[in-house]
């Protein structure tokens, strides 16, 4: 076998291509460098043109103790160090690894920038992807809970508004004696306190929630939308009456009004729209639920006599966290909930201005098969 001298052009080209530094230990304790010196080595130790002092690197100084044992053993396999981070005089850092080996009876030290093994890469990728999948699953769970939380808040606040309205009517109409009136005042204060707390929760909820992709489960048995509308109007009567808002159901009571969908969720959709309308309809006006139908679908309209919705806000009314003028002080999830619920059933939601003043929020629902 032909022995190549350390300065042979072939060796020089190979070390340059591999970006390696090759050094030989010398009797004076320094490391003599084979030329050329890689650029990263020149950055770390600018003074090291032909030799590196043993203590140029605290790690190298430590590793050379093991290397000397390894060279003395003349073991054929190189001894690789663990990677370490070295700082240069400019503050720049380079991650290095070293190998002690013996070749042609000559002790050598190889230095190179640390490599990432395929095994390490696979390990990191595997862990990263597993965690990404777990994160996605958790986000899905969080999203579901967020929507459910909204529904719970809504279910708490709507009857509370009814209770407050009823208490107000009792108080205004002087239907109780003086002692009862005092108790009524306490009940009203506590009700208002609860409403404030719920509003606080809603406010924080709207601020914290980042993404909501609902996957609500439901019972999509046939439901009677006429009955649901009548119940919904009855439920808001205690809120509407103190404001002198009349309630009306405009529908043929003898026609079949059966739709496909979960009765509880449809009631919540209608209540959301009624709550929304009630906030903006003026005193001495009428709030109407109008039912109409075609062969394929039933349309439900909630009509108020308020100021309507500004044209620039209309395209975003059913977006998540939409908080236009009409939704001030709410989470902006009510109409979003209406849309996702109705669309999941196969219907549509929308808004149109009424001739003159007023707003009409509507949704359609597929009819059940005869």
């Amino acid at each position: 076998m032909t022995t190549l001298p350390a300065t042979h052009p072939l060796l020089r080209d190979v070390t340059r291509a591999l970006d390696l530094a090759i050094a030989r230990p010398t009797p004076d304790g320094t490391l003599a460098l084979n030329l050329p010196v890689p650029s990263w080595l020149a950055r770390l130790w600018p003074y090291a043109t032909t030799t590196i002092a043993r203590d140029a690197s605290l790690f190298l100084d430590d590793f050379l103790t093991q290397a000397e044992v390894h060279w003395a053993s003349a073991a054929p396999q190189p001894l690789w160090s663990e990677p370490w981070t070295e700082s240069g005089p400019d503050g720049g850092e380079v991650v290095l690894e070293a190998a002690a080996m013996t070749a042609q009876g000559q002790a050598l030290l190889l230095l190179r920038q640390a490599q990432t093994s395929a095994e390490d890469t696979r390990h990191v990728l595997q862990e990263s992807r597993s965690q990404a999948l777990e994160m996605r699953r958790l986000m899905h769970e969080v999203n579901k809970r967020e929507v459910l939380l909204h529904c719970i808040i809504h279910d708490l606040s709507t009857p509370l508004a009814g209770i407050k309205g009823s208490l107000t009517l009792l108080q205004q109409d002087q239907l109780v004696d003086a002692e009862g009136d005092e108790l009524l005042a306490i009940a009203l204060r506590q009700t208002e306190r609860l409403q404030t707390q719920i509003r606080d929760v809603v406010r924080d909820f709207a601020r914290d929630v980042k993404a909501v992709l609902p996957t609500l489960t439901s019972n999509e048995a046939p439901a009677d939308i006429h009955e649901i509308a009548a119940d919904a109007l009855q439920a808001i009567r205690p809120i509407a009456e103190p404001r002198q808002v009349a309630l009306a159901l405009d529908a043929d009571g003898h026609a079949p009004w059966t739709v496909r969908g979960d009765a509880g969720q449809l009631a919540r959709v209608l209540q959301n729209m009624l709550d929304n309308a009630l906030r903006f309809t003026p005193p001495n006006s009428t709030l109407t639920v109008r039912l109409s139908q075609t062969d394929a679908e039933i349309q439900v309209g909630v009509l108020d006599e308020g100021p309507g919705v500004a044209p620039q806000l209309q395209p975003h009314l059913f977006d998540r966290f939409s908080q236009g003028d009409r939704d001030a002080g709410t989470a902006g999830l009510g109409l979003f909930f209406c849309r996702i619920t109705v669309e999941r059933i196969g219907g549509h939601v929308g808004y149109r201005d009424r001739p003159g003043d007023g707003a009409c929020f509507w949704f359609t629902l597929p009819r059940t098969s005869p």
Partner: protein, 171 residues
């Protein structure tokens, strides 16, 4: 240049990733703190000369990569260590288990040497999840604890000084 006559002590920082090992070293060696998190690859070694019992000691501080699901700590780094600085993050109590596990692996591989346990991020005390019960249990097990903050510098010098003295007394 380091000479054979120099009194050198190698101390290694052990702990989970992101508990503040590098920040503690940065505070101890350079007296600075940065909020920026930069993960350690392998090891970075710094040296600080301290005085113990009127004797100068070169403390070689090995700031090792933290161990987590992405990166395992090689026990090869710990060869010749005279002491361990275990670091746990008080705001993440699971990092205490990791620090203790690493300590047991280290002593199992290289034998027992003095160690201190730093409960770090004490400046965020109100966010700590480490319970009083856990801390009492550590004290009952004989651990020398330091409540540290790389951010404020609280107890950082004291912890290293204590360990340096312990390593010297082991001679």
């Amino acid at each position: 240049m380091l000479t054979a006559s120099s009194m050198q002590k190698k101390v290694c920082l052990l702990g989970a990733s992101a508990v503040g090992k590098t920040s503690l070293v940065s505070r101890y060696i350079r007296g600075i703190f940065s909020e920026r998190y930069l993960t350690t690859i392998g090891v970075k070694i710094d040296k600080k000369t301290v005085e113990v019992d009127a004797q100068a000691v070169d403390l070689l501080v090995w700031d090792l990569n933290g161990e987590d699901c992405f990166q395992r700590l090689s026990m090869n780094y710990l060869r010749g260590a005279a002491g361990y600085v275990l670091v746990a993050d008080g705001t993440a109590d699971d990092t205490l288990d990791k620090a203790l596990t690493l300590y047991h692996r280290a002593t199992g591989t290289h034998g027992a040497v003095p160690a201190v346990l730093l409960l770090n991020k004490h400046d965020l005390k109100e966010e700590w999840t480490l319970s009083a019960g856990q801390i009492e249990a550590l004290e009952a097990d004989g651990w020398t604890l330091f409540f540290t903050s790389a951010k404020t510098g609280e107890n950082v010098d004291e912890a290293f000084a204590y360990l340096a003295a312990q390593t010297l007394h082991m001679n």
